[in-house]
Symmetry: D2
Subunit: 335 residues, 4 copies
Amino acid sequence: MTDQELDLSPYAVRTDLAVEAREMAGPPDTPIPGVWQEASKNGGITVTRMHIQSQEGARAIGKMPGHYVTLEVPELRRGDTDLQDRVATTFAKEFEAFLSRIGVGPKASIFVVGLGNWNVTPDALGPLVVENIMVTRQYFELMPDQVGPGYRSVSAVAPGVLGTTGIESSDIVQGIVETAKPDLVIAVDALAARSLERVNTTIQIADTGIHPGSGIGNKRKGLTKDILGVPCIAIGVPTVLYASTIVNNTMDMVFEHMKQHTPNTDPLFGVFGSMKENERLQLVKEVLEPLGHDLLVTPKEIDKFIEDIANVIASGLNAALHEAVDTDNVAAYTH
Amino acid sequence: MTDQELDLSPYAVRTDLAVEAREMAGPPDTPIPGVWQEASKNGGITVTRMHIQSQEGARAIGKMPGHYVTLEVPELRRGDTDLQDRVATTFAKEFEAFLSRIGVGPKASIFVVGLGNWNVTPDALGPLVVENIMVTRQYFELMPDQVGPGYRSVSAVAPGVLGTTGIESSDIVQGIVETAKPDLVIAVDALAARSLERVNTTIQIADTGIHPGSGIGNKRKGLTKDILGVPCIAIGVPTVLYASTIVNNTMDMVFEHMKQHTPNTDPLFGVFGSMKENERLQLVKEVLEPLGHDLLVTPKEIDKFIEDIANVIASGLNAALHEAVDTDNVAAYTH
Amino acid sequence: MTDQELDLSPYAVRTDLAVEAREMAGPPDTPIPGVWQEASKNGGITVTRMHIQSQEGARAIGKMPGHYVTLEVPELRRGDTDLQDRVATTFAKEFEAFLSRIGVGPKASIFVVGLGNWNVTPDALGPLVVENIMVTRQYFELMPDQVGPGYRSVSAVAPGVLGTTGIESSDIVQGIVETAKPDLVIAVDALAARSLERVNTTIQIADTGIHPGSGIGNKRKGLTKDILGVPCIAIGVPTVLYASTIVNNTMDMVFEHMKQHTPNTDPLFGVFGSMKENERLQLVKEVLEPLGHDLLVTPKEIDKFIEDIANVIASGLNAALHEAVDTDNVAAYTH
Amino acid sequence: MTDQELDLSPYAVRTDLAVEAREMAGPPDTPIPGVWQEASKNGGITVTRMHIQSQEGARAIGKMPGHYVTLEVPELRRGDTDLQDRVATTFAKEFEAFLSRIGVGPKASIFVVGLGNWNVTPDALGPLVVENIMVTRQYFELMPDQVGPGYRSVSAVAPGVLGTTGIESSDIVQGIVETAKPDLVIAVDALAARSLERVNTTIQIADTGIHPGSGIGNKRKGLTKDILGVPCIAIGVPTVLYASTIVNNTMDMVFEHMKQHTPNTDPLFGVFGSMKENERLQLVKEVLEPLGHDLLVTPKEIDKFIEDIANVIASGLNAALHEAVDTDNVAAYTH
């Protein structure tokens, strides 16, 4: 199915995360036809597996049909290395299961694409992951007989961004795919969050590829099976959010907080309080944008956060892609 | 006067910037006894010179007595190199005038201290400035007769932060001052802003030194004449702000915006709208803090912003401190 | 002509620089048939223009037929910014002339490839140049009518190295060329020098592309018109050299030095002194290699040298490729 | 004993490493009065413990009286992480033993000084070690009752170099020692090697402090007990060497190699071959220096080598200084 067949444009702006889209579509205990979901929680890590099975389900929650897995780790920003190791291990196991669920075999060759910009820290997730991927394709090309068991062909490139290369990263990836001929593309990208709590605490895996308008940069072309000729799994982490998002997000929390103390809330907030969330966000944007104040912001400690989560993803991928790499000690393969 | 003689603790939390403190103390056209002020605007750069002349003035606006100069350049984040050069030149001229106003002669030896943390981009302002300072003290020590005219003795150190050194930066600076014996200390530090528009657009010069609680880090001891034995000029730039500040700041703007469209505002915002600014900020903090969501945030493009403004300050200082460095082409001395 | 038609393999190991190959082929004042050459010297910069016009000439000096321009600037390592600016201006003028000499028009679209490895400083020349190239292709693609006069379509990518991507950089470039369709490729690469004096002081421009075995890395496939379908200009700078090269190079100088003091040299050096240069180099390699001591080394100050020479090349290219960029002040466009 | 009491100036130029000085002083099996030595080899790591017990011993080998421990790991440049972990563990055990041998108790507070220049990779060893030291002094100062058992007070600063601060690093350290009052200083520094094989493969620990003229930079003042008032342990790693050293070093190997094949060597090398090593080195320097070619060079892969060896030292120190940090898994505490 192409983007054209299912017009998601009105939804596309809402969120890059399937779990958020699901929340916005209705209460969690009311099933949505065409949307299968299960969640498990263990040691501070919540894993949600979702399958949007039909166009009906896709329309209901505003996300492309496909498989989605989300890891939510609220404490991930604390810098706890034990937790980071457990997240990497969980990521590895989920990713392995994800590959087999969508039919990617243990011999399939893989090309990891790190989208984003080296020089903009919160957008450097993709390049940082690529830097720590254990690449093996060269051995399969040059001396296939000597590659030990338990490895597959893996390659990895950070194609840069339009503003620094002059070429859409989608075009660069497409060109490389044509010459390197992988069976699958994995694209790692930084996303804009819809709430402060998600920034650098959530990782999403999806088999829908990268679509125009997602991620931090302005991508005019996506990375999808239609464009690349091979399937594309997207790994995304929210690393920035709009000032207006913080405001709107916080106002919800303030109203909720005040409601708990005063049942009759209407006079408390007046017209502003009774606005729908979308209207209020629109108003906030109307005020901030003309002044150039609706900035994308990121936590002060972003350098450390990005490094940590890039290591989690890279070591998780190394363990998931190569059987010979042990999922119980994945961190040893990155630095 | 020491910190003890004038208790500014209730004010200290409000703002590190004298121009903001002045705004909060009353309308700009109503004079405040003991506070002299003048402002000029030229080519997108507003320069405000303030002199808090008495304890009465200090109490009125909640800042230490002393001289303050502020450069406000709303467009500084645009990456316009011409504007950056003009800001550097303006900074150099203002700094030169500032030195002579407070009685620092052309031969006084100077020690530039870059406070903050290399590894936390929005806190790296001080270390980045130090990296581009033209140091000359070694020539004055080793071959004083051969130093050309138009230079003075300048040294520069980035002492690191408590969390990475185990020693208060104030103690490190004090130790170096005792052995290097400069006539004046200039301390460069990143600050927390009270509004999004100030982030990386405002530079403050003050002869009051650095006081506990100012800047981004948690400084328990300051850098003042009392502690160091020599005067200390502080140069500060807001580079981060709290999520709660963004919310409160934006709510002001939203209310202002709505008032302009509907004269009768009370029912519009209810109790929330009629709260005093401080109360509302308190409420927002009460909601965000328990969740760990009152993060310090910084613009996504902070890497570039910090580099640009550090270059402005370093090249401005080089021109102001060394007569032989031309104020009209200050940028050539940094990279 | 392809590589296959002219077997240069016995020569290929000798040197990547045409001026060195020419020196090794015979005294400078004895013309070599099929090799045209002229040199000019100005302000510490020697420019040598060479045209290897025939296979006879190519065989005589062991380099592919084609145009070569070399800038030799012995003082370039001194960190003199005035000299750097003059080298950038000279480079820009020579490159512009080179383009017109080989028939590349002012509208030809250009793709700059930065070969090498970000994380290995002396091999980071290509990526550093790419970072400072003024890319414009995106404007020609998205809003061709609005591009001002004096610019051409320029794009730039650093494809990484085989060891970190798993894909030959030649394959990556080929894929990008197929989708981005430039008229010309410019490949920037770090080279191994044959003498200490050349390290970071020499820049070569050649229209022969990149051939297997050149540069620092082990390139199995080249970047040539045969492979890419469009012409490829190579820009190379020697940034490393073998320990054995230093030894052999220095022994020459020592023998020369001693000869000047004692006419009868044979008993001075014995068998070792009377060896041919190649034999002696072979002996030195035989001794060092088994111990793993024939390291590639680079000057201690390589971080600064690489940054400086990358800026020279990037600002020179920006001025040469875009008429609107002034060759007299090229440095302003890089940082 | 001060530097003045024992004039080592004629020896000082020879080598910073005690094991090299010992080699130069005579055959290993001939005891030198006043010099005690033992060596052990295990898993590719040779540990040499030396005690220069008297002025007689000091004069004989040209090094200050004191304790020296050297780790030689010829394979350390191979990037083998297992070996790196074993070196870190060995370093930790040797350093712990060293501390108790020279009478430093488990409660002694320690100040780690990282000498050298961040921006010059082969000189960045000290700053990189400091970045990974587990500092605890702040807890002992602010909440001494809450510090867990098995930790001591550790602080760490990288003071920069004279060329970028304008202040001798010795003066900066002295000033900090006066305010921070540690019981012991540990100074980490990069050294110039006397042979290619030592570069980034050898670590020396010595209780003699840092003396003028040692290390890479030009240090006019040292870091000794005389100057600091507290003892100073120096940790040094050779990371660069002179081009002339490579030549001389290799010529030895070449002559040795040729002798093994031809018993009658005199006619093989002539006068040059029969020169004493010092004379030959002098001749090589005479030839290279006027041309500016006696560069300090470093291996091409220096970025990785320095990072690896800095991690070895930092994790080794963390384990040696804090009992609570396990010597068997020291690497987990650095990144």
